[in-house]
């Protein structure tokens, strides 16, 4: 294995206890993910990361939630099953059970010098992490079936890949790709981003956040568009395939089904397939600012209503090619397999690769 491996390689894990719990379980057939299952996923991540030698994992200190259960499971798993765990370090921060926890934790993880952050949650959780992680690579994992940015992947395997990158066995430049994002500026002050989609809706409040009434969505902006996506980004994907690597984005103006240029039947949530009318299609070029005024309604980011607009609000939206770095898990594992990184020390040895 690579001789200049990083000493004290540390990884942050952001597992959002609130993901997989929202109204989409009621209005569609979206999957849910309990805290117990999330804890189990984090356990598998930790065990996977230990294979290439990750020493330390930082977590949000939610003693009553994921972190608390994880410590218990670690003690049981080490004692009864001989599991090999990295050190679990709980970040020193207050827990408010709000989005601010994620922002705070990412900030402190970056300060603690983590080499990589594994994110477990939906598009919304990834968006929060992306807003604070700068160039620390992310392993983006979905807790459910309702997401487009992160992948639904077995955590043991993702943990091994994360460990290979965090320990330097596979270089960040070989392991990651750069993502596009949409930036949004409201009244030239508050700036936010979307990884998957930004919608303008007719809702008058943020409420339960999800966006599922097609007749209320007026415009959609996406940094990439794939027809195999789920959610509003799928609508764009049906109109035009725009890869995650290309330098374009897409902007659609919607209309009632049966009117406009075309009508699509799009999966806007798991099991919820609705007709959507498309009135206009525009390509978004990097840094071309779309300025909008005199709007009412809400702005949703990655499927969740975030801001309400007043008549006087001005909105600037643009495509930025300089979004977060994400680890390509299959690619990293291919490289590791090709280079023999995951072999035990010798045919007689059953020691982990990092124990050589």
């Amino acid at each position: 294995m690579n001789s200049d491996l990083v000493a004290n390689s540390a990884v942050g894990i952001i597992a959002n206890p609130a993901s997989g719990q929202d109204i989409r379980r009621l209005i569609s057939a979206a999957s849910g993910c309990s805290i117990s299952e999330k804890t189990n996923i984090v356990r598998r991540l930790c065990l996977g990361m230990r294979v290439p030698g990750v020493e330390k994992v930082y977590l949000i200190p939610d003693h009553s939630g994921i972190a608390g259960s994880l410590l218990r499971i670690r003690d049981q798993g080490s004692a009864a099953l001989g599991e090999n765990w990295p050190e679990i370090a709980l970040i020193d921060m207050p827990v408010e059970e709000k989005a601010i926890d994620t922002l705070r934790a990412v900030n402190l993880m970056v300060k603690a010098g983590v080499r990589l952050i594994v994110v477990l949650g939906g598009d919304g959780t990834h968006r929060l992490v992306a807003s604070g992680c700068a160039d620390i690579p992310l392993v983006a994992l979905s807790t459910g079936t309702n997401n487009t940015f992160p992948h639904f992947q077995e955590a043991t395997v993702a943990g091994i890949a994360a460990g290979l990158v965090a320990t330097g066995a596979v270089a960040v430049s070989d392991a990651t790709r750069r993502n596009k994002v949409l930036r949004v500026e409201i009244d030239e002050r508050c700036c936010d981003l979307a990884l998957v989609d930004l919608c303008l809706t007719d809702d008058i409040w943020i409420g339960s956040r999800a966006v599922w009434k097609a007749e209320r969505v007026r415009e959609i902006f996406v940094p990439f568009a794939r027809p195999d996506a789920i959610g509003w980004s799928a609508v764009a994907g049906y109109v035009r395939h725009i890869s995650r690597e290309s330098s374009d984005g897409l902007h659609l103006v919607l209309c009632p089904p049966g009117q406009g240029l075309l009508t699509l039947c799009a999966p806007i949530a798991p099991g919820l397939i609705l007709p959507v009318g498309i009135a206009e299609i525009h390509t978004l070029k990097p840094l071309d600012v779309i300025s909008l005024k005199n709007l009412t309604g809400t702005v949703s980011l990655d499927g969740e209503r975030e801001f309400t607009l007043r008549q006087c609000t001005s909105l600037n939206i643009w495509l930025d090619l300089n979004g977060p770095l994400t680890v390509d898990v299959p690619h990293v594992l291919n490289l590791a397999a090709e280079r023999g990184f995951l072999y035990c020390a010798s045919t007689e040895s059953t020691k982990m690769p990092f124990e050589r």
Binding site: D22, G32, S34, S64, E97, D203, G207, S208, T308
Partner: protein, 326 residues
Amino acid sequence: MSGHMSKEDLLKAYRKMRQIREFEERIHTEFATGEIPGFVHLYAGEEAVAVGFCEHLNDKDRISSTHRGHGHCIAKGVDIMGMMAEIYGRKTGTCGGKGGSMHIADLDVGMLGANGIVGAGPPLACGAGLASKLRKDGSVSVVFFGDGAANQGTNFESMNLAVTWDLPVVFVLENNGYAESTSPKYTARVGTENIADRARGFGMPAITVDGNDFFAVYEAAGEAIERARKGGGPAFVECKTLRYYGHFEGDAQTYRPKGEVKEARANNDPLKRFAAVVVAADLIDSAELEKIDKEVLAQIDGAVTAAKAAPEPDPESLFTDVYVSY
């Protein structure tokens, strides 16, 4: 439906929340004088849950409630004069002054009763739900219950029954972080953060919402109730909220973090948050809300004055309303 409340609907919902708040604030003050008999548990701080749900219900729909039931009663349309008189133990009370705070019931508006037994509400709602189903009358039942009640066997049995029989019942968990003085974090392994995790295990859709955000509750409630009404079976909505007062009036609250309520009243108050949304969206101006505040204040004042002046029940009435004949 959700997202399309008229201005009239919005004002009505605000008035209900204000009525609950004012009712409870006033009882808090009056209870300290020693004039109110029995025990009271106040609902202040949790208004968005009761009102967010009951705004989707009609008189044929039924709710079951808890020991902290004043908010549910007001939201469901029980007469405020009668409620106040009941709490004072007067003849003019909703139940003739013989029930008090924890037994206010009014079947005419579908209020099956406040309830002193923790965990007694879910089976009642299932019974009402079974009646709706057999009669095919399109009514639904909603059970409000607490994080403490969520640990009761009656609740687990009810969730199982509701799913098995496809009953039109919506389980509304008011997770206010305390069962008397104990946090749900110490009483279970599954559901320490989201008790909805447990309900999912019974096979019904279960979600968690911000119970202090009227609009989040209202949307979730609308979807869950409509689903049950159309034959979609039970659903579970956990509302995260906070009570502003002690478990009961007189509770020293030594288990609470300092400043918890002060912070919530300032930054997470359901009425303030409601007002902020409707004013920012230019739907209602603050003067209209203030007018409602004044009217409600006068209404509660009138209810207290009338209750204090009302007669006590006659001794003979001890022997009535004890058994129901069928």
